[in-house]
Symmetry: C2
Subunit: 347 residues, 2 copies
Amino acid sequence: MKIALDAMGGDHAPEVTVEGAIDTIKEYPDIEIILVGDALRLEKELKNKKRYPEERLSIKHASEIIAMDESPSYALRRKKDSSIKRAVELHKDGEAEAVVSAGHSGVAMATALFILGKAPGVDRPAIAASLPTLKKPFVLIDAGANVDCKPSNILEFAYMGTAYYRAVFSVEKPRVALLSIGEEDTKGNELTKDAFKLLKNSELNFKGNIEGKDLFIGDADVIVCDGFIGNVVLKLSEGLAEVIMKMLKREISDISTGRLAYLLMKPALRRFKKKTDYAEYGGAPLLGINGTCIISHGRSSAKAIKNAIVVAANLAKAGLHRTISQELSKIKETISLDMPALSGVSS
Amino acid sequence: MKIALDAMGGDHAPEVTVEGAIDTIKEYPDIEIILVGDALRLEKELKNKKRYPEERLSIKHASEIIAMDESPSYALRRKKDSSIKRAVELHKDGEAEAVVSAGHSGVAMATALFILGKAPGVDRPAIAASLPTLKKPFVLIDAGANVDCKPSNILEFAYMGTAYYRAVFSVEKPRVALLSIGEEDTKGNELTKDAFKLLKNSELNFKGNIEGKDLFIGDADVIVCDGFIGNVVLKLSEGLAEVIMKMLKREISDISTGRLAYLLMKPALRRFKKKTDYAEYGGAPLLGINGTCIISHGRSSAKAIKNAIVVAANLAKAGLHRTISQELSKIKETISLDMPALSGVSS
């Protein structure tokens, strides 16, 4: 199983990407990695590394890097030799079975979509992000690929999220919920009310609406929403968790017994941080494209890169993109997904 | 200053509403309260209370209570003698200068809007919720009144939020930000992109887009969004804060030194909880109606009820609803708010 890694993508690239790649091939003997990026820089990075299976690590040169403030359209048009573009091309040409990037997520998404194309039967590819809860993680889809959606897109996200959850957690019928502003069937905006009807009439294990306050309880496996709200939810959760920890630390340091309390609970804080750190989750796949592409957090650690590569390898092995394509093609034959879009908010 | 309190509204009514009312009149000699609800029940509750200025507390009987699972339209149509309806009527008739309810928020909103009506110049009244940050609280508007919005509605929310923030925090030019999925001017969905242009061309102190991850940093005073996403953000923040505390407690109790650490930091946890507890914030006003209506959290404590009554009294004294009406009427004379709505998501 050969994976193309955008070695220049991410806040701490190429140090952590190279480290993550080496950790992966040491631990997983069936994984090979192509580091894509500035060959000189990567060779220099590899020189410091000792004792790793060199035969499963290669370098593919790419001269350009995408900056975090570049627009996807600019990057696609102008940077013909970027590490992310070359990595996706390796996948397209069959030289790699999946691609992983912790770089500019908008550019990675656009590049993967442009080069690999949509999988047959899929209207809108979407990002599936995993988030921790009190129980098992849940999958939030769409976490940012589609900012304006039709009800039929939401249904599509639910099918793709279900296939993904099944592949990752081996749950045959994951519980699907629709993010809304009340649990009752009739609560929501125009988009979610129409999406609700589609989900209700589908063969999915649809449990109804879920409110923001219940998202992290862990009673739903796949939570669907449009990509605008999904992205707000994803970033808000990350930002809020950090702010809460800061506020709590400030309160603790303000009391006389705080220093001791802090020392005593440090191992617990570390474990908590690990469980809630998005970087630990190994990135989010862009589902619905003609291939396997995992987009990781820009702040990814070497471990996060490793996790992302492993997820990419597993999804590629399972042929998830083909399963999604088959399922959605079948569904589109039997029902007309576009019907209720007439009353949707954006078409 | 006379306030009508929906004494039967809230998870712990009428115990906490009566207690909150008594605490208020004890502390604020210029506030009078009319407890609206089941007179027998309220009299019984008052019997246990000692030494309070009885001359500033009266009861107005209302025979019906709204259950939390009733729809606003059903409640409005069928429950002619509900405590919230009678409370709003007292305000409408000039017998009270403001109304406070911790009951069913949808019903309270619909009742206030139906009986008091929109303030002249206002197209869409909206909920302004205050949320804590690392610095000062910020105001989120709309937090749930309008699930489908036009760009011009978002601009209106910004004006109302600015007037509210100015009245409460005495800041002449509060910083306004638009909730979106990236800081760059061009990021967003159809609705926010059009709203961005309106905000940019307004006389407001508009600072641009704000991402979910930066909401709680405290660099914006008024954050505007449509009521669907605002409600998701509000409930998600509340739910996530609770889940994080639960996860953290679990981690702490799992380590050997956890019990001691927990004991040592208990005062800090209490203070943290107080700072982040939405019930402490005294409720959210429904801005843009012909009057002053504060909607409190269903879980409101007596202190939260007191805070809500004090906020109601201050806003009524400041004549905020008249200021909002004047400002928005003036703006509508000079610019056509409806122009960019043509490309908006819902009209």
